[in-house]
Symmetry: C2
Subunit: 333 residues, 2 copies
DNA sequence: TTGTAAGCGTTATCAC
DNA sequence: GTGATAACGCTTACAA
């Protein structure tokens, strides 16, 4: 790998002149420029970006840290960030945090040490105080989940409203016993969605049966256990609100067999192709990713401009077949 | 952000001693060590990994470049690489190349310039000669697709055998007119799978009707167009071999409506939950990713050890309902 | 227009 | 056991 020095030696100029030519500085004679360009070609010069980053103190890179990159929701966020970054000659590094909150600070700080230009994070911990030291140095934007213990920009979605919408929809279809499947109340989205679920009951003059709230669906087994708990109730639910798409995907076989009416928070690929097709609260992860990346660019370009800290995006209900239980029963007759 | 110098000043030692303490070098007095550790804590020292990488010439990072990270197949490869990397105190940076072959060299070289410890790549170009200059410096491992124009390790799957299996399966179910849906013959997997498809016909003493081969399904629209071409044939197929999972996902609504028997190369989430559930050739992307990452570690640790260049993993047919057309018709009666 | 010198933060070398 | 010094490849500031 040839360095600038090598090129300089070959073109018989100083390293600085090579730097000028390579970076398009106009203050170079046509003749010198040609000689340098020839040497660059001959030695097949490729800059060492680590050296540049080291020198300038900032890599043209946006970090993305999400619970699990294989989840289509987070993959969309990452893809959006990458699209915007590429358009600005930056690149993106993506890291999966995993489900273990203890690993988050390690993984995320490993990213931040790379002198990133910015970080987009969907955290799995309840406390991101460990990021405080970095906020002065690197723009940090939270997506999907609000920060806690640190002040930072965030782009989230209307969890409570969406859950309210979903639950009300089921109530309007005649359901009074609606199960709630969720992962972990440590995750703010889940907390907010449970609040929306409760609010819908109260709004309809109904009371919430705490037995119908099944948490712990963090992984596949947990989701199955939570679902089993609902099925074993004496007075079983007739409908289900899945507070996240991951649980809905994992439980798909059981949902179908159960005949329960279902609404899920979060659309996902092929949700419309299941039998019955799944009614969902539609989020827009691509927009979330785009907005977050845009905010990082804004923060970099205008360090002192005031920006709204919290942005909450609205969500819609996409009605499909999975809450048409009555109709389906009619058809089956 | 405190540097080693700052810590050194506070502990009244040299930077080198701080480095020794931080890196666990035993040649330090207990007393000095304690003083340094206190200073490290007080200043909340975090190493600048760019500087370390710059100095050592190699980042503890494995790059992963795939066509599209949102594709579950490639996401699995990345996840596997990340799991193995993490276990070896390394991290992973993931980049989507996208569908445009022209972008590949730019994107991939941007990665390589980061002084990576290794690169895992599933290319979209027909020629990776641009990587030749890097092979001496960075271990490069191809996954899913063989290299061309450059010598490198590869882990791929038995494309031709799998396609043969799939096609034979359909033939055994009484189909003679089997459509082939594929993306682009520039992609070696597609070429190989088409070869397997042809071989199955020849093996059964049948001839291939070239009209039944529909390519161009690189994106959603292309896939739809390819499928439409088959549907408009005068003598329409009774079955379909989808040469990749992405096309099958995109065409899911049409496949269901068409009533065609279908086998797809590549399993994907919820393929078993469609109606009918999809018979697939099952690949193992997680193993692909694990093997690739392991190979990079091996190459780093044993630069001179000989390794098999090409490894081809076997694939299995997972029989579900989508090629039981006769049965389904029977049931419908 | 071109070059020199210094330095980014860390680590390797080699003195002491 | 500890420290001074140089070096990694590049860019900024300044001088020529």
């Amino acid at each position: 790998m040839a360095t600038m020095r090598d090129v300089a030696a070959r073109a018989d100029v100083s390293a600085k002149t090579v730097s000028r030519v390579f970076n398009g500085d106009p203050h170079v004679t046509q003749e010198t420029k040609q000689r340098v360009e020839e040497a660059l070609r001959e030695l097949n010069y490729v800059p060492n970006s680590i050296a540049t980053t080291f020198r300038t103190g900032r890599a043209p890179v946006i970090g993305v840290a999400v619970p699990e990159i294989a989840d289509p929701f987070f993959a969309s966020i990452a893809e959006a960030a990458e699209t915007l970054a590429t358009a600005h000659d930056m690149s993106v590094v993506i890291t999966s945090i995993g489900d273990d909150p203890a690993r988050e600070p390690t993984v995320v700080q490993a990213l931040l040490r790379q002198a990133l230009s910015g970080l987009i994070i969907a955290p799995v911990t309840t406390d991101q105080t460990y990021l405080t030291a970095w906020t002065g140095r690197t723009p940090i934007v939270f997506v999907d989940r609000q920060p806690s213990g640190v002040i930072a920009d965030s782009f989230t979605e209307a969890d409570s409203d969406g859950a309210h919408l979903a639950t009300s929809h089921l109530i309007a279809h005649g359901h009074a016993r609606i199960g709630f499947i969720g992962d972990d109340l440590a995750i703010p989205t889940t907390r907010n969605r449970l609040a929306g679920y409760r609010a819908a009951f109260h709004g309809a003059g109904l009371t919430v049966d705490e037995d119908l709230i099944a948490l712990g669906g963090t992984n596949r087994d947990g989701g199955a256990a939570a679902f089993a708990k609902l099925e074993q109730l004496e007075d079983r639910p007739t409908a289900l609100f899945c507070s996240n798409a991951r649980a809905a995907r994992a439980l798909a076989p059981k949902l179908r067999a159960s005949g329960l009416a279902v609404v899920t928070f979060g659309d996902f690929p092929l949700a419309d192709m299941l039998t019955p097709s799944l009614t969902v609260i539609d989020q827009d992860p691509f927009q979330l990713g785009t907005l977050a990346a845009q905010r990082i660019l804004d923060r970099l370009n205008h360090p002192n401009r005031r920006q709204r800290r919290r942005t909450v995006l609205g969500v819609d209900l996409v009605e499909r077949d999975s809450c048409q239980m009555t109709d389906r029963l009619d058809l089956a007759r």
